[in-house]
């Protein structure tokens, strides 16, 4: 659809002549867009390049997008010392289990709400809307999680509080609503119950939306910092964002905290390690990014929120 429009537009744009001034503006627009794209990616390239450079090159050359001499010291450091590797492991655990919990709660709530014959549907939908409009705020939630449920220093404090994101749940609900009735009715003729229909019919045909919402939840878990800071004090349970923040902002932690033998490297490649830790925390997002993009550009996200 969009593509055919594009072709159509180009053809006609060529037919109606542009004035020279107009062409200058057009070139300018292309340049501005290119500038925006470059400004967006340059910091990432800079950090990736720096993470592979030797410490000497990092102090001698101010800026480069490709190191003269490739060094893996920073990554060796990361993967031999505890902090960043443990942070990565913990983040993977938090993300994987957390996303499964998100999807369980979101789908089981979305399904009944998506059925027109579900008595009480309006009541429960309004309940969701109230949670979207108003919240108790940070302090009551903190007291609940830390002092009433005693979830401090467990990952439940990261998994449970955000288990349902109302916006994501509504996107799933709208998708369920859009599935043709006939599929369900056929199964009902055969005497299947609601659980069977949900599990064997609705969920399998909803794979695209389930995949995209899972990715959104996963990205949120991977990126979450503040909750981890509030609820997790145990150093062995730190997630990667906490480790990254410590390595970047508290410079001294590198040499004093590790039990790593520096004999092999001489001095700690401090700047490169900072960059490499940034890269390691970013790469998982960049790996899933193409999959996420596939869905949100399709309009799954934007279009369905309105309904």
């Amino acid at each position: 659809m969009a593509k055919s429009k594009m072709v159509y537009r180009t053809k006609h744009a060529n037919r109606i002549k542009r004035t020279p001034g107009d062409q200058v503006v057009q070139v300018l627009i292309y340049l501005i867009i290119a500038f925006c794209a470059i400004v967006t990616v340059l910091p990432f390239i800079y950090v990736v390049a720096g993470s592979f450079a030797t410490e000497r090159e990092l102090t001698e050359r101010a800026f480069f997008l490709f190191p003269k001499e490739i060094s893996l010291n920073a990554y060796q450091y990361i993967f031999k010392t505890g902090d960043a590797l443990r942070g990565l492991r913990n983040s993977i655990l938090v993300t994987v289990v957390g996303t499964m919990i998100n999807m369980f709660f979101s789908c089981t709530l979305a399904y009944p709400l998506s059925r027109k014959y579900f008595k009480g549907r309006n009541f429960f939908t309004n309940m969701v809307i109230v949670t979207m409009l108003f919240s108790g705020g940070m302090v009551p939630s903190y007291i609940l999680i830390a002092q009433i449920l005693h979830l401090t220093n467990t990952y439940w404090a990261l998994w449970l509080p955000g288990a349902i994101n109302a916006f994501n749940m509504i996107i799933i609900k709208n998708y369920f609503q859009g599935i043709p009735q006939e599929l369900e009715e056929a199964a009902r003729m055969d005497g299947c119950n609601d659980l069977f229909i949900f599990w064997k019919i609705i969920l399998p045909v909803s794979k695209p939306v389930l995949a995209s919402i899972s990715l959104f939840y996963a990205v949120t878990h991977w990126n979450s910092y503040f909750n981890a800071m509030m609820y997790i004090n145990d150093r062995d349970m730190e997630v990667i964002q906490i480790v990254l923040r410590r390595i970047i902002f508290l410079t001294t932690s590198l040499t004093t905290d590790s039990t790593f033998d520096w004999g092999a490297f001489g001095t700690p490649p401090e700047k490169a390690v900072k960059m490499a830790t940034t890269v390691v925390a970013t790469v998982p997002i960049l790996i899933v990014y193409p999959f996420i993009q596939k869905y949100f550009t399709k309009g799954v996200m934007v279009g369905s929120v309105k309904g």
Binding site: M6, R9, A13, T19, I32, I33, C36, A37, T40, V47, L58, F63, F104, F105, T108, L109, Y111, P112, R115, K116, Y117, F118, K119, V130, T131, L133, S135, G137, M138, V139, P140, I143, L144, Q147, I148, L160, A163, Q177, Q181, N193, L195, F198, W222, N223, Y225, F226, Q241, R245, I248, F249, K274, T278, A281, T282, I285, Q293, M301, V302, G303, G307
Partner: protein
């Protein structure tokens, strides 16, 4: 909305629903079992904290009882005293000033950015160029605030930050130190937001632009309308409603500067300007244990947000826009 209504009507016509709850529970037992986890979640994690708002009207202390719930029951009610203390206290006006300077600056400088970028992207005819640049500018939205903060630190710090180094070559000793100069805190926060969210923010406007009939542009061009006239008379009207909705939402967020970003960029040098309601609630409430005071601050913040949304919506309707609801 209307679609769901008609669909609901047609389904009731096909299969007359037996009105009793007993029947509903019997025939759709599994639906009621499936909804239990979600409803339990909302009760515990959304509605219980709302009950916790009574702390704002109490002189709450966790030591007033054996458990937090017990303490909540036994803490004395003090009416609006906590609010009085909050509004007349030494922090209120400073917090208000800092919060408003960030959010108003963001309304002026950040808010138009996605609109401008969307308009520019809309002018791009070469489809691969458009696709590639869109792909690139969306990326930072998915990056964590910690990574944004660490990229900022690595580029702007005064010892080996590359951008600082560049600025030093141009401006010499006057090179701006974004990380600790309190006068540059608001530009720093804005710059981060613009870098992170401008690209992703274009999606909603581009979606609105995709619905514009290309023949309108054709007709305008035949009538001799140039690029600016086309933008003014076709493109902008097409996204006006979306702009208004986004503006209402943004106005509702006027006291919500977010705590994560500001907390990450805050340091002892810029604290005079970087203390906002959100960070205050965290430091006073969770680090400092002044539960009643910070709950009152939070309640004030969300009430103002609600009032602003309702007000902005009314205003939009006065000007003939459809608004949020």
């Amino acid at each position: 909305m209307t679609k769901t209504k008609t669909a609901a009507r047609s389904s009731t016509r096909k299969k007359p629903v037996n009105g009793t709850w007993k029947h509903a529970l019997q025939s759709h037992k599994w639906l009621y079992i499936l909804i239990i986890p979600g409803v339990a979640y909302m009760i515990v994690f959304n509605f219980l904290p709302m009950l916790g708002l009574v702390m704002a009207f109490q002189d709450f202390s966790p030591y007033n009882g054996d458990s937090a719930i017990d303490a909540l029951i036994h803490s004395p009610f003090v009416g609006l005293d906590v609010f009085k203390k909050f509004f007349t206290g030494p922090d209120f006006w400073r917090l208000l000033k800092n919060t408003l300077s960030i959010s108003i600056a963001s309304l002026i400088f950040y808010f138009p950015m996605p609109i401008i970028l969307a308009l520019l992207l809309n002018e791009i005819r070469c489809s691969w160029y458009k696709r590639v640049s869109q792909t690139l500018v969306y990326i930072p939205h998915f990056i964590s605030m910690v990574i944004v903060a660490s990229l900022t630190y690595q580029l702007f710090n005064t010892s080996d930050g590359y951008i600082y180094h560049l600025l030093q070559q141009v401006m010499g000793k006057n090179a701006p130190d974004f990380l600790s100069d309190s006068g540059l805190f608001v530009p720093l926060i804005l710059g981060q937001n613009i870098w992170k969210e401008t690209g992703y923010g274009t999606i909603i406007f581009l979606a609105a632009l995709a619905g514009v009939d290309v023949e309108l542009y054709e007709a305008a061009r035949v009538d001799g309308a140039g690029r600016w006239k086309q933008m003014w008379h076709i493109t902008l009207p097409a996204i006006k409603a979306t702009i208004v909705i986004m503006l209402i939402l943004k106005v509702g967020q006027i006291l919500n500067t977010g705590y994560e970003q500001i907390y990450l960029m805050q340091n002892s040098m810029n604290r005079t300007v970087s203390d906002v309601f959100d960070t205050y609630i965290y430091t006073k409430g969770i680090e400092g244990g002044q539960y009643s005071l910070s709950t009152a601050a939070g309640l004030f913040k969300s009430l103002v947000g609600m009032i602003m949304v309702i007000g902005a919506n009314k205003l939009a309707k006065l000007f003939g826009e459809s608004g949020l609801y």
